[in-house]
């Protein structure tokens, strides 16, 4: 049996770890509330944007537009949104796993990383990191999304890349977060049209259709990126809150277990001492 001192030391160390995880849980709970509020207030914009673009594409029928068909390049841009910090359970690994299992080969993938953790893992696995926007994830604003968007769209129009994907964690509620990989460009008119409903009034464009799409699609992509950033931040804090909650309750469990062991060891040492004294006294007689 471990000595009393060893058990005590171990219990103290777990206790302080428990205190840290408890504090971290509280911090991420507060952050989660904030991020959740923000993500919710941005949601109507993206839903509307999605609806508008869907109905636009559904109504305008078959248009031949550069944003609607794949580029000639086999390279695929992946915007990967993870966290800058760990200790958030499976949050970061879920995203990186999603990418490694996506069937996109390492040679073809060009990573635009948002979040240091995802970047580090993918770099180690041999993916090409084109750009790193990790500072953005702390406090994402719309301009950040536009910056990323401009960069990938430039690469797309110059045919450096043929497709653009976005990997993020969708925030369903406080406990459910789903890692998602979606294709931003080319927009898939068939998939989008499904959501558009049966309204088939012909749509007019001002300026001309092609020019309008030229301006609207970037806004659409940009808003999707921004939405993904907001949801990811909320998910990150949700995931961390859960992870820290688990860690705290594990620590409590271990402490109670160690306390029992400690008391047993203490009792054993007292019993042993008594036995020794009595046997010593007996020997003198």
């Amino acid at each position: 049996m471990a000595s009393m001192r060893d058990i005590k030391r171990r219990r103290d160390s777990i206790q302080s770890t428990g205190q840290i995880t408890k504090a971290m849980k509280l911090v991420s709970t507060v952050k989660l509330q904030k991020a959740k509020g923000k993500a919710e207030s941005t949601k109507p914009y993206f839903d509307l944007m999605y609806e508008t673009v869907s109905s636009m594409l559904a109504k305008s029928g078959n248009i031949n537009h550069k944003f609607l068909k794949a580029g000639t390049s086999s390279k695929k841009a992946l915007i990967v949104i993870t966290a800058n910090r760990g200790l958030a359970g499976g949050y970061n690994t879920n995203i990186t796993k999603l990418i490694t299992n996506s069937g996109i080969s390492k040679e073809d993938a060009v990573i635009y990383a948002v979040g240091r953790k995802g970047k580090e893992v993918l770099e180690r696995k041999g993916y090409t990191i084109k750009a790193d926007y990790s500072d953005v994830i702390n406090e994402p604003i719309y301009t950040d999304a536009r910056e990323i968007c401009d960069e990938v769209l430039r690469a797309f129009t110059e045919e450096e890349i043929g497709e653009i994907y976005l990997a993020y964690t969708s925030f369903k509620n406080t406990v459910v977060h789903i890692p998602k990989l979606i294709r931003l460009l080319p927009v898939d008119p068939a998939a989008v049209a499904e959501h558009a409903g049966g309204d088939d009034t012909p749509m007019n464009y001002e300026p001309e259709e092609e020019e309008a799409l030229n301006m609207i699609i970037p806004k659409y992509v940009c808003s999707l990126i921004y939405g993904a950033l907001m949801e990811s931040v909320a998910s990150e804090n949700g995931a961390r809150m859960q992870a820290m909650d688990n860690a705290t309750s594990n620590a409590e469990e271990m402490i109670s277990d160690l306390s029992l062991k400690f008391n047993r060891a203490r009792q054993a040492s007292i019993t042993q001492e008594l036995t020794e004294i009595i046997s010593g006294a007996n020997a003198i007689e």
Binding site: F46, L48, T52, S55, K219, S223
Partner: protein, 133 residues
């Protein structure tokens, strides 16, 4: 005609800016200024920084809108603006300063400056100032 209303929704990435029944809305698209009544033909257009005037019967509301898209359907108008501000949210001094700065930049004809950016900044500040007075 004028008292027939349509549903107007204005959203920005950060908030629901406006939602209500309007009789007319004035705004500027990339092709020029337009006024939209109910029963307009379906139209999708691109907004430039401008002053948007929302008419609710006789009441008028002004707002500065900086770029976005507008989708007009028969009884519903959806504006997705990148930024939208009510007059009381605008800092007049800052907008004035931005306007002067942009004008000076454009006047200087320096090869280094980004004319498009300066023009956009000027448009934005003009939209803000227009919404205030």
């Amino acid at each position: 005609m004028a008292d027939k209303t349509f549903k107007l929704i204005i959203n920005t990435p950060d908030r629901k800016f406006y939602q209500g029944d309007a009789t007319m809305v004035e705004l500027t698209t990339s092709e020029g200024e337009i006024g939209v009544y109910a029963d307009h033909i379906p139209l999708t257009s691109v907004l430039v920084p401008c002053v948007m005037v929302i008419h609710e019967g006789t009441a008028k509301k002004k707002a500065a809108v900086h770029g976005g898209i507008i989708e007009i359907l028969k009884d519903k108008v959806t504006v997705l603006a990148e930024i939208a501000e009510w007059p009381d949210e605008i800092d007049v001094n800052r907008a004035n300063e931005a306007k002067n700065r942009a004008e000076r930049r454009l006047a200087s004809k320096d090869a280094d400056i980004n004319i498009m950016r300066a023009e956009l900044a000027l448009k934005r500040s003009l939209a803000r100032l227009g919404a205030v007075d």
